[in-house]
Structure formats: C-alpha cells, structure tokens
C-alpha cells in the first residue's frame, strides 16, 4: 500500500498572528509555523494503513523553503519520504494552482491512496482535494471520520452536516479526513532523529512543466482586504439560583425544540 499525504504549513492556530496592513496576508515572520493540525490526522491515517499492511507513506507539501519543517514533522511521525514543491512563482497560489502543482509533481508515480485534510485551517476553502481528484481522474471519498481499506476498496464514514454516510470507492482514490478520525501521534525522539536523514525532494515550477498554469501567472483571484470576523454576540446570562432549568426549558420551547 503506497499512500501520499498532502500537508500544509500554517501559522500556529493556537497563537493566530497579525494581519499585515499592506499585504492583508497573515504575517509569517516571528510567528510559529506548524504542520496544520488537520494534516496531522492525515499523516496518522496513512501511517496506520501501512502499519497494518506493508507500504510507504510519502508526504507532499507546497510552500516556501521553510515549509520543509512541516514535512520533517510528518517524517518524524513516521512517514518515509517527502516532496516539497517550492518556487517564488507559486506564491499566493489558490486551490486550483495547488492542485495542479501536486498533480504534476506526482505524475508517473502510483499511489493507492492520496490523503488530505478536509480543508486547511488557515484557508478553509476545502476545494483543493476535490480539484486534485478531478485532475487525477480519481474518485473522492471526503470527510472521512473512519477509514478502512481492504480488497482494493476504501470504505469511509463520511461526516455530513446532519449525521454520517457510509461510502465506498475502488482504489486508487483521494480521501479527505476530519479531525475526528484518529488521535495523531506525537513524534518520538527517535523519529525526530531519523527524520533528519529521510529524503525530501524539492521541485520547482519548471520541473513540473506548469509554466503559466499555476501560481502568479495563473492568478484568478487577488486578496485586497482582510478583517477579523465579528464574534457571535452574547445573549442573556442568568445565574442559576434554582430557576435555571425552567429558564432553559423556556428557551428550548421558544426554539421549538420541545
């Protein structure tokens, strides 16, 4: 079983950075950059599959040269090798550019499964995996909160807005995993040491044969402003002095829940 896991390096979501007033992008300098927590679950899912069955996990990422750290983190968890797509011309790539670059970077290689997070924590568009599946002509199993692979098929529990579906597809396939699928392992010291010697192949735009089709040259959107979203407003707050339950019941009645 050969598994490819797509990962992204993002500013630490537990210490969100500031917006650059000029570029309207998140300031990356002086901010802790981490492997997207959502992707840790993807790496974990890949590792669990090869531990059950033989095989290898390759991790692929696109980003500045620094993004190699996110790949190293996945290698320290136990992934076998990494691919980093990095090129100044790929800065500000949108989802489709990213999907094109990944599809080009793995051309000619075969993977039984390509695992992605459902969406990046920072971008949150969730479009890349479907676009990658479409470009590669592979079936997409998305929002997996459970994944099983056997007899050339992948079966998932697909989290939906109001429950879940059991869905299957033949391999090779693209699978997106939710944070609910597993508890990602913490890299052990030994893994961290071994990761230093694992291969990380760097590829640029010209290696991919994508000149003009990805990154700046193919930009269809441009960010012009960004502001923090308004938080939900507080409603009524009552101290429970015995009548709290009655008030809750009234609230539930008003919402027609009871």
């Amino acid at each position: 079983m050969n598994v490819l896991v797509c990962v992204k390096q993002i500013p630490d979501p537990n210490a969100p950075g500031k917006l650059d007033p000029q570029t309207k992008r998140l300031v990356r300098e002086g901010v802790d950059l981490v492997l997207d927590p959502g992707d840790e679950h993807g790496v974990e899912a890949g590792l669990q599959l090869i531990e059950k069955d033989a095989g290898e996990v390759t991790v692929i990422s696109m980003g500045p040269p620094k993004a190699v750290d996110a790949i190293r983190r996945a290698l320290a968890m136990g992934a076998n090798r990494g691919i980093l797509i990095t090129d100044p011309a790929l800065e500000n790539s949108d989802a489709i550019s990213t999907a094109r670059a990944i599809a080009a970077a793995i051309k000619g290689q075969t993977y039984d499964l390509i695992i992605c997070g459902t969406e990046s924590t920072d971008g949150s568009s969730g479009a890349m995996p479907a676009q990658l599946a479409e470009l590669l002509g592979l079936p997409l199993l998305s929002f997996a909160k459970k994944l099983e692979v056997s007899q050339g098929k992948a079966v998932i529990d697909r989290q939906t807005d109001d429950g879940y579906d059991v869905v299957e597809a033949p391999l090779p396939a693209v699978v997106t995993v939710t944070g609910g699928i597993n508890e990602a392992r913490y890299p052990a010291l030994r893994g961290i040491m071994q990761a230093k010697n694992k291969e990380v192949k760097q590829v640029g735009l010209s290696d991919l044969g994508l000149d003009g089709q990805a990154g700046k040259a193919a930009l269809t959107q441009e960010v012009v402003d960004a502001t923090p979203a308004e938080a939900r407003k507080a409603g009524e707050v009552v101290e429970d002095k015995g009548e709290g339950a009655k008030r809750v019941a009234d609230f539930l009645k008003a919402l027609k829940v009871i």
């Binding site: 999907a99 479009a127 599946a133 470009l135 998305s142 609910g180 959107q221 938080a231 707050v237």
Partner: protein, 322 residues
C-alpha cells in the same frame, strides 16, 4: 444568467440552498440578469413550487435515477454539462459538505475560478467577494476574475427570504451524458442525526458525567458531541469531537455544557444557529457567544433541565422555582 445549484431533500430545497437563492436573486437583480436553478435527481421537479418565491425563471433538473444518491463527481458532471449548454456568468451553491465539493469539481472541469465560503458578492469586473477564512474567524475581501465565476455561500451568511411576488418557473429536464467513472463513489448507508447537538467539555467532570448529556440528547432527539479536551482525557471517542478540522457542526441548537469555548472549538460550532451554554464560569468565552447562558454547575443544572424537559414533554405543569 446566474445558475444556482440547489440541494434538496425529496424536492424540498435545504435551508442553506434557500439562503443561496436569496443571495443569488439579489445578485441577479444587481447584474440585471436572470436567475435559473439546477437541482439533481428526478424528485427535484417538486422544488419549482418553492423556487417561484425566490425569483427563479427556470429550474433545470438532471434526470437520471443514478443521481438520487449523492455522488459528487456525477453531480458535478451534470452541472458542468448544463453550464456548457446554458452559459451562465455565475454558478453559485452552498458551502455545505456537498455543495462545496460539487462546485469545486465543476470549477476544475470548466477550468474556472472559484471562491469558497462567501458572505458578500459585489458584481463588476472583477467581482469583489468577501469570504471566510480560518474557519470563519477572518473575513477576506478578494477580486475574482474569469468569464464564469464559481461561488459558494457560507452557511447562515444571510437569512433566507422568500419574495412576496412569485415567478413562473419553467422546468427543463435534461439527461447529462454521465459515465460509469462518475459513479465510482458509492453510498452504502446514510445516517441522519438530529438538529440538536449536546456538547460536553472538561466541566462535565468524568466519562460517567456524560450520562446527563446523553439523556438530554435523547429527550431532544439530538446527538452528543465533545471538546478536544474530553477526547484527550479518554472520556469520549474521537468521532464525537467538535471543533477540529472537518468536524464542524451546523445544528439548529448547540448546547455547550462545561465547555470554555477555546478558539478551535468555537470554529467548530460557529455555524450553529443558536448556542445555549451551561458553565460555572461567567467569564468563559462560550458565555460571551451564547444566545442564552446559565451560570451554574453542569450536573446540577442538567439534572433539573432533564426533569423539566420530561415534564414539558409529558404535558405536566412546570415545578415552580425552589
């Protein structure tokens, strides 16, 4: 022409799709163009009745029995086929788990730009869209180019609003040229859960403490969820977790019990229509974001709430406060 991709349950458009139609009909007015809709599966014909209150002139129905079950690639193939025939300037859908995926497939098939999770759209050349990033905590304004724009609308970015005047909706049934490969993803079982989620955090106290939450969820026909702290403590399975990537929920009501409301958790329940919090700490972030909050011990409050809900459901008068 604007083409709205409508999700429906046996011909009844989903609430999020009605929100999309509301956004789309306003956009169509601003652009001085018509609004048409596409819905998948033979049962979608019944949606025409409701669409007539949202300014839709034509409902296109992809008619193929195989499309009844959700299949992103096949649905996208149908929408892209239609778009090639009717040539819309905008294709707009929900940012639901299905809508976002179908629109992403369509964008790739058509090689057209897509903006996801939009909350506002200003037409022009280029379009200016406001869209959610960081799970909805950041709003980004972006210019969008391309001859056909693909957009998904963030859940509850606006309220669905039916127009008092009705349009005559023409129905166009079409058979997309689907291929076997569009149906490689096969739905085996679909399990719908309730519109109420009762979530528990560290403040629930213990794995056993979730019995009270299970009981309330049972009474309300809801499901139980939990915070990351709770799965880390081993009190609940990972699959119950709300707030990590992809485990976003959008119920009508989220009842947060003993949950402080850390950033990641709030990202997960932001799309809930209403939040009810039960917490000992009046300063907890969740209290500041709840529609209604009770400050008190989770177990004590829940025991009383469960008794009260049972009474209300049994039609008995409520007990006066002690």
């Amino acid at each position: 022409m604007i083409l709205a991709f409508i999700e429906h349950v046996a011909g009844a458009p989903t609430m999020l799709s009605l929100e999309v139609l509301t956004m789309a009909s306003r956009l169509a007015r601003k652009m001085g163009t018509q609004l048409e809709a596409v819905a998948i599966g033979p049962k979608a014909v019944a949606a025409a009745e409701i669409l007539s209150s949202y300014g839709v002139s034509t409902l296109h129905v992809a008619d193929d029995q195989r499309l009844d079950d959700y299949a992103a690639a096949a649905w996208a193939h149908a929408v892209a086929d239609l778009a090639a025939r009717v040539n819309p300037r905008v294709i707009i859908g929900t940012a639901s788990d299905r809508g976002g995926e179908v629109i992403a497939h369509v964008a790739t098939r058509m090689t057209m730009p897509m903006a996801a999770n939009c909350t506002e759209i200003v037409p022009g050349d280029p379009f200016t869209v406001t869209r959610q990033r960081w799970g909805g905590s950041l709003l980004e304004e972006a210019h969008l180019k391309g001859t056909i724009k693909l957009l998904t609308i963030a859940p509850h970015a606006l309220a669905a609003e039916a127009s008092p005047s009705r349009t005559q909706v023409a129905t166009d049934t079409f058979s997309p040229a689907l291929e076997d490969k569009d149906f490689r993803v096969r739905l085996k079982i679909s399990l719908a859960q309730a519109r109420v989620v009762v979530g528990g955090g560290r403040g629930v106290g213990s794995a056993e403490g979730f019995a009270a939450l299970e009981e309330l969820a049972g009474l309300l026909g809801g499901a139980v969820g939990c915070s990351r702290a709770v799965t880390s403590l081993g009190w609940r399975p990972h699959s119950d977790q709300v707030g990590q990537t992809g485990t976003r929920i959008a119920p009508d009501l989220y009842i947060a019990c003993g949950i402080s409301g850390a950033i990641q958790h709030m990202v997960g329940c932001r799309a809930a229509k209403h939040i009810l919090a039960i917490n000992t700490d009046p300063g907890a972030p969740i209290v500041a974001q709840a529609d209604f909050a009770v400050i008190g011990d989770v177990q004590k409050v829940l025991a009383a709430v469960n008794a009260e809900v049972r009474r209300v459901k049994a039609g008995e008068p409520s007990r006066s406060p002690a």
